[in-house]
């Protein structure tokens, strides 16, 4: 699994079970539709705060989380809605959180950038770039000391690689063989800055070799490729051969945050990536099978649309905190 050849390396056998595949498809559509609906609610002005969205990156969260067990963990970032849905948070607890309701996954205290649910293996999103990297290594240290077979998948962006926290966290995970999958979602930009301005060697996975562990670059818009790579990584981690660095090549279809028109992205680059959309690509793959039809995919989308619409109505009515809630939850 070295960086240079990794994008084309043979995938582990993927279960081609129809239900499993439709499940992956449904997760990606759920993430896309959730994000589109949230964007609408923000623009409409009904939803408070700010947002960082992941349209176009649905395959990374979906593929990685599909390879994890329910008792495995993830850490996430300011761009965490997709990770959360992929790890099993519900549309309702997330929308409630975005509307600041007490029924939200963090009682409305976290908001978009700190989405998480400890009961579902997701630490609240860490909005400090690279802040989750040493923390994930620490979680993996705990798993090792507790002799469990759990792993943690630590999501971060290409921008995080430049932070000191990346170096420190990754190095310690390496020297102690910790069960952590470092998942770099390389979408070519950190905020408005393109990676070629801030990395002399833009191949993120190549950094793993310098620390003495395995790294792999994967087509992050191919959900099956991501799933296969994450499965291999999780297995290595469970066998005491962690950590693993996965660099998932992808692209965000939307602005960095709320009011960003992305003028710093070249038009041809955007179009090239839009034509490699992870959901459309996977749909084409699925429709090539004899046992999956367009009607199946349409039914999934219709079911998700209804679910989201119902959840939005409930979230708008969800209970808001009272002033007494201001000072709770500071200490355990």
């Amino acid at each position: 699994m070295n960086g240079a050849s990794a994008a084309n390396s043979p995938a582990s056998p993927v279960p081609l079970d129809r239900e499993f595949l439709l499940g992956l498809y449904g997760k990606m559509v759920l993430i896309r539709e959730f994000e589109e609906r949230v964007k609408f609610l923000f623009l409409e002005g009904t939803m408070p705060g700010t947002i960082h969205q992941c349209q176009g990156q649905e395959a990374t969260a979906t593929g990685v989380c599909a390879a994890l067990r329910a008792d495995d963990w993830i850490t996430s970032t300011f761009r965490g809605h997709g990770h959360a849905l992929a790890k099993g948070l519900t549309v309702q607890e997330m929308l409630d959180e975005l509307f600041g309701a007490t029924t939200g996954c963090c009682k409305g205290k976290g908001g978009s950038m700190h989405m998480g649910n400890m009961a579902k293996g997701m630490v609240p999103g860490i909005a400090i770039v690279a802040g989750g990297i040493p923390l994930a290594a620490g979680m993996a240290l705990a798993f090792k000391m507790q002799r469990t077979t759990q792993v943690v998948a630590c999501f971060f962006g290409d921008g995080a690689v430049a932070e000191g926290a990346f170096h420190e966290g990754v190095n310690m995970a390496a020297i102690w063989d910790l069960p952590v999958i470092f998942v770099c979602e390389n979408n070519l930009y950190g905020a408005s800055t393109r990676i070629d301005k801030v990395m002399k060697n833009p191949r993120v996975s190549a950094r793993a070799a310098a620390y003495g562990f395995q790294g792999e670059t994967v087509d992050g818009n191919d959900v099956l490729a991501v799933y296969a790579a994450a499965q291999r990584a999780a297995e290595a981690c469970r066998n005491g051969q962690g950590p693993v660095l996965l660099e998932l090549l992808t692209y965000r279809r939307t602005g960095h945050s709320r009011r960003d028109a992305c003028h710093y992205q070249a038009k041809d680059e955007r179009e090239a990536w839009f034509s490699r959309d992870p959901i459309t690509r996977f749909a084409t793959q699925l429709l090539a099978r004899r046992d999956i039809t367009q009607a199946d995919l349409d039914a999934i989308k219709a079911r998700i649309d209804t679910q989201i619409a119902q959840s939005v109505e409930l979230a708008k009515q969800a209970p808001q905190p009272t002033l007494a809630d201001l000072t709770t939850d500071v200490f355990a």
Binding site: G49, V129, G164, A165
Partner: protein, 338 residues
């Protein structure tokens, strides 16, 4: 003379200083990217084209670019560093506190660190990690000068004074004060525009400003709270209560001369601070007033500050966290009623 908001005034101030002095340059994240934003709050928008090679976009590496700014300053440059959100100063604080602040002293007075660090603060619907009032963490550090700008006039004048100062200066700005109009204006933004004179001017880094004269109570605040204090004074005036509003503005050192003059006159003090009450700058100001002017006080000092909690996301709680004009006015009434 022209009317400007804080973002525009800072932009002009930076451009004028860069024109005046070739050693001045800017360093930070997303500050000069073509097609980008000119920093998260547009302060450096357009400057990269005007000053090629002197608006330096960095990787996301706060410790690194701050250390580089300190090193460059020591070698004779005049860096203006841009921290995208004040909260990230925690990452940079080793270079600021252990290096920038102490170099002069440790070297027996031989090193100069003419560094400017700008950072936006304030609770603005972004949750706990993009919201903290960071000035408290730097006011007690010997060797650092700390200011907080609440008007466009001060922003430009203090920026210029900071660039010309031979010491590290931290300038805190508030996200709700950059501009209250236009596409990037924040919800809840407050008008902080000023008439900006045509010529060069500076605002000293060690003087508070009396924003509204009054006789019965002194209200001290800075950044957004200076505006809310003024609004409270307006409400109180309608009730026949005369409050003097002082924008503390220079947080380290604190201008006890201006504050003292007011306290001797009113004998009553309310200090307003966005940020947890415990360990805030208002605690220092309160102690400083007690030591110097305690004999003039007719009642104990009152602080209006945030609860001792991280900044909550949900708007109901965030609004409760942030002191407002109503709470400030009530504190003044309570104090005068004693």
């Amino acid at each position: 003379m022209k009317r400007q908001g804080i973002a525009e005034a800072l932009r002009d101030g930076i451009a004028e200083e860069m024109t005046r002095d070739e050693r001045v340059f800017c360093i930070g994240e997303d500050i000069g990217v073509p097609g980008g934003w000119g920093g998260a709050f547009t302060v450096t928008l357009g400057l990269a084209e005007k000053f090629p090679g002197r608006i330096i976009d960095t990787p996301i590496a706060e410790l690194g670019f701050t250390g580089m700014a300190v090193g460059a300053a020591m070698m004779g440059m005049r860096p203006i560093a841009d921290m995208q959100y004040g909260d990230f100063l925690f990452l940079a604080s080793d270079q600021l506190i252990n290096n920038a602040a102490k170099m002069r002293y440790m070297s027996g007075g031989t090193v100069k660190v003419p560094l400017v660090m700008r950072a936006p603060i304030g609770a603005t619907g972004r949750g706990s990690q993009h919201a903290q009032s960071m000035e408290r963490y730097f006011t007690g550090v010997p060797g650092l000068k700390v200011v907080a700008v609440s008007t466009a006039y001060d922003a430009k004048g203090m920026l210029k004074a900071a660039v010309r100062d031979d010491n590290p200066v931290m300038i805190f700005e508030h996200k709700l004060l950059y501009g209250s109009k236009g596409a990037r204006a924040e919800p809840g933004a407050v008008d902080a525009t000023s008439d900006i004179p045509d010529g060069d001017y500076i605002v000293p880094l060690d003087r508070a400003a009396v924003r509204r004269p009054g006789s019965q109570v002194t209200v001290l605040g800075w950044l957004l709270m200076a505006h809310f204090a003024a609004a409270a004074a307006e409400q109180l005036a309608a009730e026949g209560i005369s409050a003097e509003v002082i924008d503390v503005r220079s947080l380290s050192p604190i201008d006890y001369e201006t504050i003292g003059e007011s306290v001797r006159k009113t004998g009553r003090v309310v200090i307003v601070e966005e940020g947890p009450k415990t360990g805030g700058v208002s605690a220092e100001i309160c102690a400083g007033i007690m030591e110097r002017f305690g004999d003039y006080l007719q009642a104990p000092v009152i602080r209006v500050a945030s609860a001792d909690v991280p900044v909550p996301f949900t708007p109901i709680l965030e609004n409760a966290y942030r002191p407002d004009a109503a709470r400030i006015a009530q504190a003044c009434r309570d104090l005068i009623g004693r």
